[in-house]
């Protein structure tokens, strides 16, 4: 579908799965292993059409990452989907407050993930 996505997750397995699911749908996929790395990758690549991020990560967690993305002029409007095993309401509320666009509970269904991406990127 010709879009570019940055996926941030500290689990290699999850990154592998995301890459498989996304590239399989024709989405150009960039991967990062935590928030700090995610911000570094954002510096390097063209503005992605969407970001997928985990919450529990070392160095900089998902909340910090979302806030940092939203705080940067050039990235603040990028849709961000949270992909987490957590589904507690207060965590979701916190993510939304920070500026998350959507929340997807792991384990994810690749088809629905792509659908969600479609939805937030057009």
């Amino acid at each position: 579908m010709g879009i570019q996505v940055l996926a941030v997750d500290d689990s290699r397995t999850m990154r592998d799965m995301l890459r498989l699911a996304l590239t399989g749908a024709g989405i150009e996929t960039h991967l990062a292993e935590d928030g700090v790395h995610g911000l570094e990758v954002l510096e390097e690549i063209d503005r992605p059409d969407a970001i997928i991020t985990d919450i529990n990560m070392p160095r900089m967690d998902g909340f910090g990452f979302i806030e940092a993305v939203r705080a940067r002029e050039e990235t603040r409007t990028i849709p961000i989907l949270v992909l987490s095993t957590e589904s507690a309401a207060e965590l979701k509320a916190r993510a939304r407050e920070g500026g998350a666009t959507g929340w997807i509970v792991k384990p994810f269904d690749p088809e629905k993930l792509v659908k969600a991406l479609n939805m937030v990127t057009g």
């Binding site: 500290d10 689990s11 290699r12 397995t13 999850m14 990154r15 592998d16 799965m17 890459r19 498989l20 996929t29 960039h30 991967l31 990062a32 292993e33 790395h37 990758v41 510096e43 390097e44 690549i45 063209d46 503005r47 059409d49 529990n56 990560m57 070392p58 002029e73 050039e74 990235t75 603040r76 409007t77 990028i78 849709p79 961000i80 095993t85 589904s87 507690a88 309401a89 207060e90 979701k92 509320a93 993510a95 939304r96 500026g99 998350a100 666009t101 959507g102 929340w103 997807i104 509970v105 792991k106 384990p107 994810f108 629905k112 993930l113 479609n118 939805m119 937030v120 990127t121 057009g122």
Partner: protein, 761 residues
């Protein structure tokens, strides 16, 4: 491995190993009281990642266990629980169980709930009833759910669940059904975003596109709230939209499309049949909780709606043409404006594009087979080079000719490549040591001793295969150390030691080999008792005078076991003799040192790699053989007086006044009859770790060089006296001797007349 999911699954289990390792590290920090806040975070994340991956592969038991474990760790993280000694102990057990579950899942073994019941019960007790119930629901093979605001499993306070409303409200149901058969129902949607909707990266246009996927859509923008330009705050939301959708998908589908923005907008969805425009049911409203005064605009909305009766006629603004109208009004979500900004942000952006896969850290995971293929190929180069050197030499080129010097450099390079390639297979011994930590925990619990394991040199690297094959012998030695090496707490206290016994596991590089030491601070070997047992079991001659080290080495004799009754720990019919053969099979040596009252140390010395070997090339009966250099103590030529007849079929060799049995290699391998006369033969003096020696007769020594080891085991099977094969410079295969196997299997026959016994070995 062409199935990508299978590959990911395989790599998930590799990741699990790493995560379990970091969990173990953190637990050890915690146990030693050196933990900080990050330690518990690291533990939590390790278990969390395992859970996440396990969920993706439907490994429910693993998910359930990891979740409970994680929940308790979260309680520690939040300060609800204090990680005291007992809790850390439980965590260690959890870590062990988790690694069992991972292994079971990987190997497809049956899940045995009884193995985990105890541990789960302990975790449950800590978690308390409510939480453990809640999580059951949470982690049902959780299908995907897309949500923000958390109405998910009904856990969100104050947020309405999406009602599973029938397509039509109230008593119009029957009409609707009838109408649906002939014509699609019409849905009226009123959508008023809040500013927060834009701030969260959502974009009305995309939402509309998602709605359009459901059916025929007409969109109208309502701009009446839009202030004059000079008063316009571009960051604020002023617009709302009316959408008319012709679709049989129903209201729920529409609401699903707006799922992400639930709570960030006002949304009303009303449904009517195209035919029955007369019945306008009450709008169903999902009021945003943050909106203090929901705008009850439902009535106005319906009033402003275009007549939905004739769909094709009223397509006033199909969504595509509506685009320009929305664009300026949807302030921050402008992709096209964002792009150039991002580009200008860094000059490296274009160049960095090729790092698209942005792989974290500079590591690559490679199939072991590929590495082995590479190791083999480099081995081929070494062999080919030897052949080339030979031809160049035969061609009579002078030693300092460009070809010869070039070839020498090439040779050096190849050696470097070979070494580098070998290093790819090397791994730190850490994972092995961690497995031993578990053995210590279990073994000490089984015999009721307090034992602390200290590991040193965990980052020492050694060939992966060596690590794998060390696990069993090390396990046995650790159990031995706990069971026999260390005294009971009372005994320890009585001699003024700390009640807690200490076992030290140390790895280090020493002159091109890896040395692993297993030490305990126990009572040391009871030599009197060992000696007596060996005599009682008829293993040695009672009159034999033995040095301390001789007695210590009795432990390696087959059939020796110090425990008066076979203990359920170190027993199992495995003795130190088996440990020793396992070590020797790896090209290693094992030795023992013990001080009364202070403890015992076993040292294992291993080659860095199993792929190459320094060997001596010898000729016997027309065959070329390779003898590992590390077992050859010396080479000598015998004079006639050095050989003495021993038994009717055997000889011994006098080497500086000690007598060593003579072995005729050609005869032992069945290549030929024993020789009539061994005078002037070439002898390799081969020494075993226990000090036992043998003088092995060969016809001649050809060369001394490094050879690439080619396994025979896989292609053919075990050949007595032979460890492996290699390929020589001329392309011929030469067998590599296993001198220790040869000695233990040897007939020792060195006289031609009794040749019938030769092949008996």
């Amino acid at each position: 491995m062409s199935d990508p999911m299978a590959e990911i699954r395989a790599s998930f289990f590799i990741e699990c190993e790493e995560l379990l390792e970091s969990l173990q590290d953190s637990l050890e920090l915690m146990d030693s009281g050196e933990a900080d806040d990050e330690t518990v975070n690291v533990m939590f994340r390790a278990v969390h990642s395992i859970k996440g991956g396990a969920g993706a592969f439907g490994l429910d038991e693993l998910v359930a266990f990891a979740h409970k474990f994680e929940t308790v760790m979260d309680m520690v993280r939040n300060g609800d629980l204090t990680p005291d000694h007992e809790l850390v102990k439980l965590f260690f057990v959890c870590g062990d169980k988790l690694s069992d579950l991972v292994r079971q899942a990987r190997d497809g073994e049956e899940y045995d709930p009884t193995q985990y019941a105890d541990t789960l019960a302990k975790l449950d007790a800590l978690i308390g009833e409510d939480e453990s119930d809640e999580e059951e629901i949470d982690f049902q093979p959780a299908a995907l759910s897309l949500e923000l605001g958390g109405e998910g499993e009904g856990t969100a306070p104050g947020l309405p669940d999406l009602p599973g409303l029938p397509p039509l409200g109230g008593d119009d149901g029957a009409d609707a059904d009838a109408a649906a058969a002939s014509q699609e129902p019409v849905l009226h949607i009123r959508f008023t975003p809040e500013t927060a909707l834009y701030a969260s990266g959502n974009e009305p246009l995309y939402l509309f596109r998602a709605v359009r996927d459901l059916g025929d859509l007409t969109v109208r923008c309502i701009e009446d709230k839009l202030p004059p330009l000079e008063a316009l705050d571009p960051e604020k939301a002023f617009l709302s939209w009316e959408l008319t959708l012709l679709s049989g998908e129903g209201e729920a589908a529409v609401r699903e499309a707006f799922d992400f923005v639930d709570g960030l907008c006002e949304l009303t969805v009303t449904e009517q049949t195209a035919a029955g425009g007369d019945s306008q049911p009450d709008p169903v409203e999902t009021a945003a909780p943050s909106t203090g005064s929901p705008d009850k605009s439902g009535a106005d909305t319906s009033a402003e709606l275009p007549t939905p009766a004739a769909p094709s006629g009223t397509r006033a603004a199909p969504i595509d043409t509506a685009e320009p109208a929305e664009k300026p009004a949807a302030p921050p979500a402008d992709k096209k404006a964002g792009k150039p900004q991002a580009k200008s942000a860094g000059s490296k952006s274009t160049g960095a594009k090729k790092s698209a896969a942005a792989t974290p850290r500079a590591t690559v995971r490679v199939d072991l087979d590929r590495i082995d293929r590479l190791v083999n190929l480099v081995g081929e180069i070494v062999i080919n080079q030897a052949m080339l050197s030979q031809s160049v030499e035969e061609a009579g080129l002078p030693p300092n000719s460009p070809v010869r010097t070039g070839l020498d450099e090439f040779l050096q390079l190849t050696r470097d490549i070979q070494e580098s390639v070998m290093m790819i297979r090397a791994q730190p011994v850490k994972s092995l040591f961690q497995r031993m930590a578990r053995i210590v925990r279990e073994a000490s619990a089984a015999v009721g001793k307090e034992v602390r394991l200290i590991t040193e040199g965990e980052n020492t690297e050694i060939d992966k295969t060596v690590i794998e094959r060390l696990a069993d012998p090390l396990t046995h030695m650790i159990r031995n150390a706990v069971d026999h090496g260390l005294e009971s707490a009372e005994e320890r206290l009585a001699v003024g030691k700390c009640a807690e016994g200490i076992i030290t596991l140390n790895a280090s590089h020493r002159s091109g080999r890896v040395v692993i030491e297993i030490s305990d601070d126990g009572a040391g070997i009871n030599r009197e008792r060992v000696h007596q047992i060996a005599i009682d079991k008829g293993l040695i001659d009672p009159d034999l005078q033995l040095s301390d080290s001789d007695i210590d080495n009795l432990l390696f004799l087959p059939g020796f076991s110090t425990a008066s009754e076979v203990s359920n720990l170190s027993g199992r019919g495995v003795g130190m003799d088996v440990v020793r053969s396992a070590i020797q099979a790896l090209g290693g040596r094992i030795s023992i040192a013990s001080t009364a009252g202070k403890g015992t140390t076993f040292s294992i010395s291993l080659p860095l790699t199993l792929a190459v070997l320094d060997g001596m090339i010898v000729r016997v009966a027309g065959e070329t053989l390779v003898v590992p250099l590390n077992v050859i103590q010396e080479t000598l030529a015998l004079g006639p007086d050095d050989i003495r007849p021993f038994g009717p079929d055997t000889h011994v060799v006098n080497i500086r006044n000690t007598f060593v049995p003579l072995l005729d290699l050609g005869a032992e391998l069945g290549y030929r009859e024993p020789l009539v006369d061994y005078a002037n033969s070439v002898i390799l003096l081969i020494a075993q770790d226990d000090g036992e020696r043998a003088a092995v007769v060969v016809d001649s020594i050809e060369d001394q060089r490094q050879v690439v080891i080619k396994g025979l085991q896989d292609s053919y099977g075990h050949v007595p006296g032979i460890a492996a094969a290699t390929i020589l410079g001329d392309g011929q295969i030469a067998l590599i001797l296993d001198p220790l196997d040869l000695i233990s299997e040897a007939s020792g026959c060195t006289r031609p007349q009794s040749s019938s016994e030769l092949t008996a070995g």
